[in-house]
Assembly symmetry: C2
Homo-oligomer: 408 residues x 2
């Protein structure tokens, strides 16, 4: 059960002019399952992406990087059921062949296609089934198919993830719609497992990489389920440039700021949705670390807390065993941390002060907060003015069950 996350309704997702989506059932791993998605992009769009920092990056990630460098992207193809990672030279060839197959149908160059794969690692991509499924996916393409796409990229996700909003840019109404998928192997570094966002805003191509990076930084790069950075993390931002406003040439202009803020809001919803639907998640937890010397050390502490199996199981049990949070602060790797300055709040409950239990803290207050489905952990380091927040979930029996049975 995802935490306070319900499935999107198709009518709430705004089409983005210049972009059509088609989905098919290609039986890549299982039958009767939407597992192949194509995104067809009109000529003239601006496209950028950020990808996993895992050195063992998947074949499609390598191909995406090449094709984005060449520019003029016109299509994307996304399969579930197989990650095409840990597959060596053969995997690269299959990712390229996937692009070529779609390019032939669309009469474009293979370099104009971005491939994405998610699923089991180290098994050969079933190219024949992908090629056989592509015509149906292309035939299905329509502007209103965002929900189908969100469903088409799910693996162990229990809820489809799609968010949409509009924003006025220079008087013109601009649409922003995005989808994501996650569930496990989630500790994105540059991007999530898979996230796609599109807008019909007009954005100068030179700005797109910066925009994609800033959106990922403020959203996908702040969530973690299990600390496992995937081999396939990909986040792509598309501006179809169809809207009726002057081209945005700086993200610091009023129009640029308005677009970035609106897109960041959608990106954050997409990223948080991945945590809300984290494998086995029963709680959504924001870990905010304040009073650090740098944002980086705040994140370091926040991730230590968010990754601690002991902290996560305590949240699952609603057990205010909060010393585990202090222990995680202590081993986060800040060499000159002064434990006598550490402060800890659980929502509004003041748990620890100066590194020890707060005199007024009562266990029933901690317990009351721990039983909620959304909780904010706030740690004060007492050494500076920086702060940062990371979003995570708890660690339950179901996480073990899901990952023990994933391939069966």
């Amino acid at each position: 059960m995802a935490v306070n996350l319900s499935a999107p309704r198709a009518e709430d997702l705004r089409p983005v002019a210049g972009l059509r989506i088609g989905v098919a059932e290609a039986a890549i791993r299982k039958v009767n399952r939407k597992d192949l998605t194509v995104v067809l992009i009109d000529a003239g769009a601006s496209v950028a992406g950020v990808f996993t920092q895992n050195r063992f990056c998947a074949a499609p990630v390598q191909v995406c990087r090449e094709h984005l460098a060449a520019g003029d992207i016109r299509a994307m193809v996304i399969n579930t059921g197989n990650a095409n990672a840990g597959t060596g030279e053969d995997g690269l060839a299959r990712a390229r062949a996937t692009c070529a197959a779609l390019a032939r149908q669309l009469n474009i160059a293979p370099q104009q296609v971005l491939p994405f794969s998610t699923g089991v690692i180290m098994e050969p991509l079933p190219l024949d089934r992908i090629e056989a499924g592509l015509p149906a996916a292309v035939a299905d393409a329509a502007p209103g198919h965002w929900l189908r796409a969100a469903e088409g990229i799910m693996t162990t996700d229990t809820v489809a993830k799609a968010f949409s909003r509009s924003v006025k840019i220079d008087g013109a109404e601009v649409s922003i719609t995005g989808i994501s998928k996650g569930a496990g192997m989630i500790r994105p570094n540059m991007a999530t497992m898979l996230g796609f966002m599109a807008t019909d805003a007009k954005v100068a191509p030179a700005l797109m990489q910066q925009l994609a990076r800033e959106l990922a930084e403020g959203s996908f790069n702040r969530v973690t389920v299990d600390g496992d950075t995937s081999t396939n993390d990909s986040f792509v931002v598309i501006a179809t440039n169809k809207a009726a406003h002057a081209t945005i040439t700086s993200l610091d202009s009023p129009a640029g700021r308005a677009l970035r803020e609106a897109m960041l809001e959608v990106a954050r919803q997409l990223a948080q949705a991945i945590v809300r639907d984290g494998e086995g998640a029963t709680k959504f937890i924001a870990v905010r670390v304040e009073g650090g010397k740098t944002g980086e050390e705040c994140r370091q502490v926040a991730y230590a807390i968010a990754h601690s199996p002991l902290v996560k199981t305590a949240f699952f049990a609603s057990d205010p065993n909060l010393g585990r949070i202090l222990a995680a602060v202590g081993y986060a790797g800040i060499a000159d941390l002064d434990q006598t300055k550490i402060d800890l709040h659980l929502d509004e409950v003041h748990v620890a002060v100066k590194g020890g239990r707060h005199p007024a803290y009562r266990e029933e207050d901690g317990q009351r907060v721990m039983k909620k489905s959304e909780i904010t952990v706030r740690v004060g380091l007492g050494r500076g003015d920086a702060a940062d927040t990371v979003w995570t979930c708890d660690f339950s029996h179901d996480y073990v069950s899901i990952n023990a049975d994933y391939r069966s």
Copy 2:
């Protein structure tokens, strides 16, 4: 159920001349439980310790460091049920008061006592019950009580951990006996949760710190259960200097090497026993990383594998979802890792070569190894001659249950 680990027999544990152990039931957290242990050391012993690198170190760890610096240690007092960590100034005062209480009974100075605590974090140490229990513990003291001590320091451990052996030094027979406890919050950095070793060998006091550090490096600092470095990790080595050989003045002398090797063997058994009895463990896994540029980067990769919840749940399920191991290698943080050189063995089965699936690898071979209770993962990085090994366990439903219910 601990993995291939049975309880020690009292008669297999060699007394160490110059050292007596007493255990009592002090009802520190629960009644009818051995929870208070004292170790009484004859004058003239050499003592050294290494402690947690967690910046949030517990009060007893801080007091141990002070007292060891002063030298001439004559006693140790160990309680379970309460870690006296995250307890601020008040916790320090209670740790000192514990030392003072034992010192009064033994007619020694408080600075000659080392205190150790393990259990729940951030709750006040019940000093009254410890003081009330000390006379019984002291009255119980006898050289043959090593097994009682191993039982007396258990928390969520399911099996007492004690190992013993003898070694000839210059023709004299020397005894080495040690105990440890672990189970959860185990990713020692300098030492384990609690480990104590004693020998009657004669070791120059100046060598003791080096000896303790080297023993910890080769044993406790190579195991992990859940990646949570405890606030209380302590490892103490005592040489009572009673044996009939010339004092060892260099660890590189033949006598020094013989002693170190024998002690390292016991230290490794103690450390591995903690993993075998890791919370919820059903498998014992050695992660060996070879072909690194440095030992440090080999450990970094080995720990990334050993801490991955996805890898650990796959071992629990005996599921050869081995791409998860490659993913962990990829995110271990080696920036210039070349994935096309990565090699992976599971015991004798060659799983991956040059970063992709080995052509001869068959899933049933991987499955066969995964079903065993002891497994060696061997990763080749293909970039140098360094190697290192880390020992860990799998991640099961019981880990979640134990940690969700720990305090109830």
